[in-house]
Structures are given as C-alpha cells and as structure tokens.
Symmetry: C2
Subunit: 511 residues, 2 copies
C-alpha cells in the first residue's frame, strides 16, 4: 500500500486548519454532533482527557486543593452581580426558560412537543462559575480561620460559539475551574502565580509543550479580573494558543457575592479571590503542537495507550501461539512503570490486514508499536517502532530488553517531542522593532498558503488599549502576553508610539 | 461537653427524613443551592463520589468498556424519536430556548438582562442520553465487526424535580450512563445482567450495602426499555432505595436512531442495545444505610479519608514534637495498603478545642480516628477509635501494631457495616400472604412516628398493571422488584387476585 493513501491529506504545509480537522478524524479523537458547536469526544480523545485530568488532579491536591461540585444552572440575577463579568459573557449564554415539555397538536393533526412551564427567572448554563460558586463561598467563609479556601471543580461549561472548531473552540467543553479565597491580596496573588507554575510545568513535562508564561494586557483580561496570567503555546503553523489562564480577581467578586469574613481584629473584611482553568482545548493544542503528516502524535505521559502490541499471524497454525506471546509480553510490560504510573499496553487482536492496522495506530499517535510474530518468537525478539521516527523504521530488540527498556524509550520520545516543539518556537520567535517589520512578519510569503507564516514577535509596546485594538483589527495579530522572564526586560521604544518601554511583549496570530 | 449537644437531632427513631437532612449537613456532605433542586456537593461529599467513580470505573474498564463524552443538549426532535421515552421524561425537561442575553432598559430606567437569540429548535438538557448517543452510534456502527460497542459516560444530567431531597432526588445529579450495542439479543441480555452483577458486587463489597437484585415490573420500567433490572437497598427506616438500574432496550432505540449494521450474511440488521446507570443517589443511600445518631458512617473502602490523626497538644513546648510525630505516623501509614489502594490518611492540625474537633470527624464518619499526644509518644502508643464503636471507646495500641494493623482494622469495620446492614434487612423482610397482612405490615405502629415501619414484604403476585397502580395509590407501597434467587421461587397465590403465582415479589415503601 502506497504511503500516500495512509498519510493525512492535506499536509500541514498545504492547509494547516484542514490538516487539523483531518487528524482529529483520522485519529478518532472526536466528531461534530448534530447540536451546533457541541462535539462528541470519542474514546481515544476522552482517554487523553482522562490522563490530563488524573495528572493535573494530583498536582492540585498536592497543593491543598479539594474538589467539589456546583450547579450547572445560574440564575440570571447572579450573573448580573458583577457588571463587567455579565457583559463579557452575555452574548455566549445558553438560556433555560422552561422546565417541561408539552404535547401540542397542530392544525394538520400532527403532534409535537413544545416548551412549557415557564420559569419565573431564566437560568443560564454556566459559561464559568464565579457567581454561583461565590454564592456558596459567601455561606462557607465566616472567619479568617476558614481561609484559605481552595476549591476545584471538574465540569462541563457552555459558551455559545459562532465559529466552532473541535476541541479548540466548542460551545460545550470540559474543564477544571479552580476557585479560591484568601485573607490578603498577597496570598491571592501568590496562589495565582502558583497555579500558573503548575500549568506551565504540566504543559512542559506532561504535554511536551514548552509554553510561555506571562500576563494578559487589560484588553485581554478575563471579564471581572484585575489581572490575568496565561500560558501560551506555539503550534506548528506558528500561531499562538492560549492554553490556560489564572486570574487574580482582587475583591471584585467577593464584593459582588459578599464573600466576607471576620478578620484577625474582628472587623468585617472581603476575601481576595482567584480563579483558574484549563480545558479540553489542551487536547487540540497537543494535536496541533505534535501531529505530523501521518496523524496525531501522543506525548507518552498522557497517551491513553503507550504501547500497542500487534500480533503478526501469517499462518492459522501458529495464530494462537502468537496471540499468547503477545498477551504474555503485554502482561509483563504493564508491570513496569514510566513516570510513576504503570505502562499502559493494549494488544490489538482484531482480524484485519496488518498494514491497515499499523496505520490506524500511527494515525492515533500511539508512542510505541510492537510487532511480534512467529519469527520473532523463534529469535526472542520484538520489532519496535517509535511514533516519532519515520513509519517504516523498526528496531528488533531482544524481548528482555523490551521489558526493561520500554520506560526509557517512552522517556526518550517524550523528550524528543519537547525538543522539537522548543526548536519550533525558538526558530519562529524574533525581536521586531518597527511597525513595518511587524506587518511584514505577519504577511504570508505565499498568498496561497496563508496559514504558515509569522510566529512570535517580541516588541516594545507602550500603546493605549485603543491602539492595541486597532492593530488587532488591521493586522489580525494580538498581544498574546507580557511574558515572564528576564530576557524580555530591556529599555526600548514602543513600535507604534515611540514611547519608552521597559519590556518586550509577544505579538502573534492566535486561535 | 455533654454528648447530647454533639449527636444528631432528631434521632433516626424520632424523625428519619429530618435526621438524614441533619446528617448531610453535620457531615458537611452537601447543601441546597439557590437554584431550585440543585445541590452543591461539598468536598467531603464529592470525595466520596470520587472514590465511587474511581472504583466503578476500574470495574467497567476491566469488562471492556471505554469512556467517551456526548453533548449536554439534545434537540427536541431527537427526544421525540422514541415515543414512550419522550413521554416518560417530558415533564422533567429543562429547555434551552435562547443562546444569548440582551440588556433591556425598563420604564424606570433600570437595566436588566433578558433572553435573546431564539433557537429555531429548542434544546433539552439531557435527562439521560439514549437519543443523543444513539445518533452517534448510528454513525459508528456499520458492520457486525464493530460490535459489541461498549461505551460509558460520566456526566451530569437534569430532571426537574418538584420535591427534591439532597442526593436522593435532585434536579441536577451526577452519574455514569453505560450505553452498549450488540449483534444479538442474547449478547445484549448478557450485558444487562453482567452490569447488574457489577452493581451488586460494588454495592456489597465497596459500599457495604447488601442490595437485592431483581427485575422491575412493566409499570416501573425505564421509558422505552423492554426489561429493567435493578438493585434495591433497604435503609434504616426499612424503606427501599433503587440504587442502580440496567436496561435491556431490545431494538427500540436502535430502530428509533437507526443503529443498524451489515450482519454476517450481509443483510441490514438493527443492533440490540442496553443502558445502565448509578448516580450520586448512592451517596444518599450510603448515608441512610450506615449513619447513626452521631452522624455519617463511611464504609472504609469509599471513605475519602480512612484515618484521621488528631495531634493532642496540651502544652506549647511539646506542640511541635507532637505535630512531627503525627506527620511521621501519617507518612508511614499511607505507605500501607487496604484493598489494593494506599491508605488515605489526614492529619488535622487545626487549632481548635479537641472535643469539638473529634466530634467533627465522628459526624463526618471517618472510619478511624487516631490520637497522639506527649504521653502516647513516651509510651510508644496511639489511641485508636473506630467509628463503628461507641464514640468514647478507644484502644491504646503500640505504634508498630498501628502501622501494620490498620488495614486489617479497616477491613473489620467494612465487614461490621455490611453485617449490620444485612441483619437489618433480614429482620425486616417477611413473607406476607394476604392483602390484610400487607396493609397491616405497612401501617405505622405509632402514628407519631410514621417513618419507621414495615420493610420488605415478599408476596405472591399475579395482578394486572392497573392492580399494581391501585395498590401503590392506596397504600403507598410499590413492587420494588421481582427478585433474583431460588429462595423466592415457589408456587403460591396472588395476594390480591388469588391467581396462581410461581415466585414472590418484593413490596416496600420506597424513596
């Protein structure tokens, strides 16, 4: 079978957005549903999310956070409590207005169901939960002794999207949202930064994505936040994806929801709150960061299956023996561990043509494929293929070596993915010191391939909010963040206004 | 401090439903929210649900099921596809009719937000997902080779409730819903029974609840199902709680959603489907099954924390030493395991009065409380108190014994809870052979304590659906199930009609 028929079409170079859609389909990660903007997350995609959930959950719990669950529906009056917040989400809210259905007979005698039981107050499906959780926190917090209050929720949320894209921008998505209350602004700020650190570490070590940490400009802040920190990833078309945010909310929401407490001196004080989240968007980011023209490529740490064993059964008479050998290999391998978790192994015994089966797993991006057949059994070897190597490249390793060495190989793949993504980012990041250069940087070299161009432009900036909006409008680039790091700090002049600036910001096109 | 002030008021005997509400509050499990019928699950309650989820998830995966995720919202037209199903859920559906909010200024100049962006077709928040998952399965299943398709979803669902009760009956609840497609009716029936077996085993071994398995009568079937199997628990007021259901759906939903496939002979066939679920109702069931007049009592296997260590620090000068000893004890204990999981230990270092702290943990129902103070450190002992023993009873055990023996003690507590619940059920189950006896059995002995009475009545039954409805209406008892087990099979006469019957069914009052 010719390689062409197996690889993803179009390639990344030909049409990156369409390549992404095709990979999501070919890897069997998710699909669109009949409900506008809502996706179905298929087992392979959900398996990835389960690994992300489990590993982040450990990190949250290790830093003192506990999980809880709050209502899906928010009374309209709650949302209105924080004006900026309400305004920020108003255009994206799914609204529940009725609480039952009634059968109605039309003039043609046909029956249909219509909404009935009108609610006295409409309810909104949570686009985020600051207001409904704030109402609970207001009851829970009475004294400074109750603080800090460190809560996380794993949940679905809904933001009506006009231009949905699987994982990256869907009307319903899955996420975690942390919500904390602190006695002082200093402690709340420390929490905001601590969480950003967890997100950065998770992205780098688990997803193999070298994100940049930084702060959003005022224009890009979460509605109602005083400061918004973020992690920004660069994916293979050199665009940026905001992969997680951590908000310092000051006392805005505690005043709106009356989260107050008796302080150490007995006086009534308002809490200082934070909120922070990552979502199924991480799955899309990961695909765009690591996939290649053969399909998805899973970083071993979060791969739902890390090793697939493909039994080679050319003759019926040795079939059972080979299947048993595959099971035995799997049994021993899944006793080994990688990064503190037992290695996740699957034996694919489906009866189908071997090449097609192999390509399915390449497209799914399983880190290691192992073939075992009658000849391997004789020689005591296993054919091992790494997803980060060309599809036809295999190594024949001694079985013992495979048992003890798989953890190391997975570690090497994890490192190679991170190294590639880091190299991509570094070679597509540059200092830019004039508006002309900025415009040129983001102008496609080839108008027929408008998707691959630009990157991260590090610029001095001292413009107004309006200036920033105008650049976004005119050139479709945004300030992704004011990045953390000493390398970004230096004296210079704003590329637009010429005013003095003491640090570079990152301009990029974004998802 | 007198015991009276700590115990739950009212007691179970005085007012069981109110006792339940008070335990849920005292154990800090959940609370009502401002949204009618929707609860906030607090960290201790959610921790319990997390254990339930994790352990069931292992059982589902071990039997070949994979998790996926489907949309929260269902188009009305989908719900209508299966007529009985639509009718069954119509009165409980929350309906989304708009997709944004708009600011409106009233005559008084005040602004408010109103629903805008009317949807062409209303969407229903899933009360259960057969129809929306059926639409996906219709795409996924093409050939008999794609079967069986074994999918599970962990999700929130919504059924508008007029008389909500925390955990047992809430408008929004958390659950898992399994959905499977099979090639033959035999395989689908086998799956329906297999899952019931998992539920029974989980209830018995993990929740220490000796549920009865059986089949619902036609009246009590899931809307659209051909057969509904269930597990039924008896709680301490001798009422029944349906704790889980497993439905054999025949071809009803596969025909409604066109889940068809090319069979082995190439002909088009409809799949045979099942669906099954347990929910956060299990948490309420567990509280009602095991709690006592001092509060909740957690079965060790699912307790969020299995051991709490309470440092006794009478003098400031030994305080740090004691806290370190408590940490060291916790560190060693959580290396040990119980039932294949590391023991979950918490050190409660909060500065509060020791008696109050101890009672908080009694009310939460933590299986083991351990005290360690300066005198224990001198003697090398730890004071250990079991939640299933009277609150003041402690054993002073050698520290080494505690490290190695805690797993066993947890096992003993787990067994004692199951033994108590089994004894309760057995002593409140009896054969009843006439309508008069049935009515008497369910008539409260003391009209002032209407809640504690009756139990499971094993009766011969051969009445019609209408007869069954009438008994339910007149006497507030329902047929909980046609129980599995040879002990229920014998020839007899229906208590109502006198017609011959070959097996006893269970009548009980239920939640």
């Amino acid at each position: 079978m010719a390689k062409q028929t197996n690889a993803i079409s179009p390639t990344r170079q030909e049409d990156f957005p369409e390549w992404y859609q095709q990979v999501v389909r070919a890897a069997d990660l998710a699909e669109n549903s009949e409900v506008r903007g809502c996706m179905v997350i298929k087992p392979w995609g959900y398996g990835l999310w389960e690994r992300i959930q489990a590993q982040l959950d450990v990190m949250f719990k290790a830093t003192g956070h506990k999980n809880a669950y709050f209502p899906l529906l928010i009374p309209l009056s709650y949302l209105e409590k924080e004006a900026e917040h309400a305004e920020g989400f108003a255009t994206e809210c799914a609204v529940v207005t009725h609480h039952r259905l009634e059968v109605q007979t039309g003039e043609d005698g046909k029956t249909k169901m219509i909404p009935a039981g009108k609610l006295t107050e409409p309810l909104v499906i949570r686009p985020t939960s600051e207001t409904i959780i704030g109402a609970a926190f207001s009851r829970w917090v009475e004294s400074y002794r109750d603080l800090p209050l460190l809560i996380n929720q794993w949940a679905n949320v809904m933001r009506w999207e006009m231009r949905p894209r699987l994982f990256l921008r869907t009307a319903e998505f899955l996420w975690q949202e942390g919500h904390t209350v602190h006695e002082t602004d200093g402690e709340a700020w420390e929490e905001t930064e601590k969480i950003l650190g967890i997100y950065e570490k998770f992205a780098r070590e688990h997803l193999a994505i070298p994100v940049i940490t930084g702060e959003k400009t005022e224009n890009e802040r979460f509605p109602g936040a005083e400061r918004t920190l973020c992690i920004e990833a660069m994916v293979q078309d050199c665009k940026a994806i905001q992969a997680g945010t951590s908000h310092f909310l000051g006392q805005n929401f505690s005043k709106a929801s009356d989260i107050s407490f008796a302080g150490r001196d007995g006086s009534k004080q308002f809490g200082w709150t934070t909120s922070w989240g990552v979502s199924t968007r991480l799955v899309g980011t990961l695909i765009m960061a690591h996939g290649d023209d053969d399909g998805a490529m899973m970083p071993p740490r979060v791969a739902p299956t890390q090793v697939v064993i493909l039994p080679i059964t050319p003759r019926e008479e040795t079939r059972e023996e080979v299947l048993n050998a595959a099971d035995a290999l799997a049994g021993e391998l899944q006793q080994q561990d990688y990064c503190g978790e037992l290695i996740r192994v699957e034996v694919d015994k489906r009866e189908m043509q071997g090449g097609a089966k192999n390509w399915e797993w390449i497209k799914k991006g399983v880190p290691l494929r192992m073939e075992i057949g009658p000849r391997d059994m004789e020689k005591g070897t296993v054919a091992v293929a790494r997803r980060d190597m060309p599809p036809r490249e295999k190594q024949f390793l001694a079985r013992d070596e495979v048992i003890t060495g798989t953890g190391n190989i997975l570690g090497e793949i994890q490192q190679s993915l991170l190294a590639r993504a880091t190299a991509l980012r570094e070679s597509n990041t540059r200092n830019i010191d004039s508006m002309d250069d900025l415009v040129e940087y983001f102008t496609p070299l080839n108008p027929e391939k408008p998707e691959i161009h630009g990157g991260f432009a590090l610029c001095h900036w001292a413009g107004s909010n309006e200036d920033e909006e105008k650049i976004t409008k005119d050139h479709k680039v945004t300030i992704r963040c004011i990045p953390n790091g000493r390398e970004f700090i230096e004296e210079g002049k704003c590329i637009l206004t010429g005013k003095p600036s003491s640090q570079r910001v990152i301009f990029a096109k974004g998802y």
